[in-house]
């Protein structure tokens, strides 16, 4: 199993924040959902991966290449989408095509415009500058540009924020199509946990600069559960499988990791846990 991204012991220090020994992989053929609250370190990690910000310690390889010493070569196979469109408002799609076409070796002009057509942007492309594009259209264009050089790795940082569900669904479809080639991977960070719930194969959860959870998403959702009961009953619960809890004021809400095997006693309910639940209660801790 090859990894398209391998991060080992990534450390980066800022005045008020640091990435502390971050390690995780993005295997080929998979979608890794990268979650965490604002300020937890998602964007910092992604910047370190792309060498927009230089790491202090640790190693990062992209498709086997060191992301610093071999950066330019490695990035030929990487497509990037940020949360704001990266092109100036007064540029036009054909200009972007020419710019990137002379930068990426594998740039596929026909595919770029085909993608734009598929996104319903052909008219816009013909007529105007990016200024006339809505936010969703700009994002689609950025995505088309990121895919047009047939990369092996797609990195998105909060790229779907501020988009309506219809557009997000279209984008999800594109992701799944991209992953159809098992040499390709996607790393996408998002605080829209429903997107992560739908799309990801793996979930990596970062909190205050540290990786707190890294697991297969479906296994996580299958095994984690939300236990709810009153305070008295809570005393009788075996805490070995409790990953986090909080007192709601009306009772106890706890995250357990053995939902499939857990036999709730009386006065207890066990439900599925959403990614949000898992995030919130893992942070709260036991």
């Amino acid at each position: 199993m090859t990894n398209n991204i391998e991060i080992k012991g990534l450390c980066k220090q800022y005045p008020n924040f640091k990435l502390d020994n971050v390690s995780f992989n993005v295997p080929a053929g998979s979608i890794v959902g990268f979650v965490g609250e604002n300020g937890a370190g998602k964007t910092t990690t992604i910047k370190a991966i792309l060498d927009v910000a230089r790491r202090d310690a640790g190693t990062i390889t992209l498709m086997g290449r060191d992301n610093i010493t071999d950066g330019p070569a490695a990035r030929q196979d990487v497509g990037v989408v940020f949360d704001e469109i990266s092109f100036h408002d007064w540029l036009r799609a054909p200009q972007i095509d020419k710019i990137l076409g002379n930068i990426y070796k594998n740039w596929d002009s026909a595919y770029f415009f085909q993608m734009l057509g598929r996104f319903g942007l052909s008219e816009k492309v013909r007529k105007g500058t990016l200024k006339t594009f809505s936010r969703g259209m700009k994002m689609k264009l950025s995505l088309a540009a990121a895919l047009a050089h047939h990369p092996k790795l797609l990195v998105l940082d909060e790229a779907t924020s501020g988009l309506d569900p219809v557009v997000r669904d279209e984008i999800l479809d594109i992701f799944l199509e991209f992953i159809g080639d098992e040499g390709n991977s996607i790393l996408f960070s998002s605080h829209i946990t429903s997107d992560i719930e739908k799309a990801a194969d793996y979930l990596v959860f970062i909190h205050q600069g540290r990786i707190v959870l890294n697991a297969e998403k479906d296994l996580l959702l299958a095994n984690y559960g939300m236990l709810r009961c009153d305070r008295a009953t809570w005393e009788t619960v075996d805490k070995a499988h409790v990953k986090g809890m909080r007192d709601t004021g009306y009772g106890i809400e706890a995250l357990i990791d053995n939902r499939q095997d857990f036999r709730p006693a009386e006065n207890m309910v066990v439900d599925k846990a959403t990614v949000d639940d898992i995030m919130l209660l893992t942070i709260k801790g036991v």
Binding site: G29, S30, I31, L172, L176, E177, I179, G180, E182, K198, A199, A200, D201, E216, K217, D218, L219, A222, N223, R259, Q260, K272
Partner: protein, 148 residues
């Protein structure tokens, strides 16, 4: 004459001419507490046993299935692995996965044997802990009701 030639070639090269991809019905339920891969294996098994899927029918690739159902590839892979382990499908490298060429009756018997094995263990536990047969039967009834 031409048709005969084509059929002959197909026979030689084992090209499946009249294979359409199996029309599987997979419904993943949110309210089902079981892991998704279990839901898939359960539904595929029952369709094979029920005859809706016939021996030799081609299954979609794990990636195609993941994409269509919009679930993780890891899950479809796990489902197919379990199905293969239990003898319901076979995967031929380079070609894909197909419903195993055993008839449903035979498969059903195998499944019965597996269930019997599990029940034997339960009976064992019951006997050594003073649980009566009636109590066990009650548990059995409860379990049949609760699972999706």
């Amino acid at each position: 004459m031409h048709t005969v030639y084509i059929l002959y070639i197909a026979y030689i090269y084992d090209i499946r001419l009249f294979d359409s991809e199996a029309l599987m019905n997979i419904l993943i339920s949110n309210s089902d507490g079981r892991p998704i891969y279990e839901q898939i294996t359960a539904q595929v098994k029952s369709q094979i046993l029920g005859g809706q899927l016939a021996s030799g029918d081609a299954l979609p690739s794990i990636r195609a299935l993941a994409r269509d159902l919009r679930i993780s590839v890891i899950t479809t892979k796990r489902a197919y692995e379990d199905l293969e382990r239990d003898g319901f499908i076979e995967t031929i490298p380079g070609k894909g996965s197909f419903v195993a060429s055993k008839n449903p009756e035979f498969l059903r018997e195998e499944r019965l044997r597996v269930a019997e094995g599990h029940l034997a263990k339960a009976v064992d536990v019951a006997k050594t802990s003073g649980i009566t047969q009636d109590e066990l039967a009650e548990l059995l009834a409860l379990l049949y009701q609760s699972e999706g």
